[in-house]
């Protein structure tokens, strides 16, 4: 009897983690809250990362990410299952964030925090945390510095370039999926990524050359 119960418990414990995204969506359509929570936990990090690197304000990024999930679940009946769920989620995140940026017309953003941050505490709260594990203090400082330059350079790209390069190199999404997410042809995605790389290369030129000389 005990064995049976343990087995059942094991089954329940693995079932949500082991389900595919599309199975979880099906369960959500049957009002299964645990399935919805699993989807949120599965995708909160990548969605938040993308949104944060677009708006550079932690609080705002959390609000937008929350809105992304709320909209996703509200429109779940309209989700076309021939697409990957993550593509659809990223598409909603991209549209929402770009809409926000367009409305706010946020153009240049510093790595030292959001332009919306008015007090030093708020700036501190919104600035990036550049963590690096198990490195010597010197290497850590250098890595932090370089990451800071890179984050700053990314922030200077046009939102379209920024999204495309983040999806490609940080999230590792293939070109076709990025094209679905951004709602632009494949050729345009290639152009975005090519130009984004070139701009990053130009923006990081000094650091890059220093690195080459070493």
């Amino acid at each position: 009897m005990t064995g049976q119960t343990d087995q059942q418990r094991g089954y329940r414990a693995v079932s949500y983690k082991e389900h595919s995204d599309k199975d979880l969506v099906r369960l959500c359509l049957k009002s299964d809250e645990r399935a919805a929570r699993e989807l949120v936990e599965r995708f909160e990090r990548p969605v938040f990362s993308l949104v944060y690197r677009m708006v550079r304000d932690r609080e705002l990024a959390e609000d937008l990410t929350q809105e992304v999930f709320v909209r996703t679940f509200n429109n779940l009946q309209r989700y076309d299952r021939s697409y990957k769920f993550s593509s659809w989620l990223f598409k909603i995140a991209y549209n929402l964030t770009v809409d926000y940026l367009r409305k706010k017309q946020v153009k240049t953003i510093s790595m030292h925090g959001s332009p919306d941050a008015v007090t030093p505490e708020r700036q501190e709260a919104t600035s990036l945390s550049l963590e690096s594990d198990e490195e010597s203090p010197d290497a850590m400082v250098e890595a932090r510095e370089l990451a800071g330059y890179l984050e700053d350079a990314i922030a200077q790209l046009r939102p379209e370039y920024r999204t495309a390069i983040l999806l490609r190199h940080v999230e590792g999404r293939p070109y076709e999926e990025i094209s679905d997410i951004m709602g632009v042809p494949l050729g345009t995605v290639k152009t975005y990524i090519f130009r984004a790389r070139r701009e990053l290369r130009d923006l990081l030129e000094d650091r890059w050359d220093e690195g080459d000389e070493e």
Binding site: H19, R45, Q66, V70, S132, L166, V170
Partner: protein
Amino acid sequence: MNTNHQARTRHLQAEELETLAIPGDHRLPARSSAHVADCERCRRDVEELQTLHALLQALAPLQPVVGFSDRVMQHVRLPLPWRVRVLQAVRKHQLATAAAFAGAAAAVGVGLTWIARYPELTPMTIAAFLVQRFTAFVWSGVMEVGRFVYGSGVLETAQGIAGQVTPVSAFVAVATVTLIGLASFRILLSLMEIDPALVTSHLRLRRRVRG
């Protein structure tokens, strides 16, 4: 010789550079790899892309605040099954529901009053009448089918077919019956609002956990 020459002259396209710089499922033709070994410019392009990719990959992982999923779940409203929607509608439109019930009750009351006017209509006579009509209906249906089968020569045809059953025809028959069975199962699942894909997924998971 010619291929070797081409390999030496054609620089790599953007996609080829990416295939070399970013580890993935794709593999580059030996010709292109050979070109990189010889070409300073392409080698530098690959290295540059590798560096950029590594830098971007190494960016600090970003996490929302602890308990973020709880916060999100407080705002999420999932689509509801129809039974729950009906119950909610009833709760929301209590007056309309009460009116509908009152209407239905009134209709039943009128019907009962009408029956009461005829003393010979007792519950027993009504039930007997319904049973009799129902039996007659079913029986007439059976008779109709029998008459049709007999008249159409289906019986003779069936005898003829039985005389020449081959493995192929037997297979076709079994396959047809199986397909009809599966289709009925699917219809049953959809009537019970169960997604067939979920059934297979659950079975797969259960097998994995038990095995």
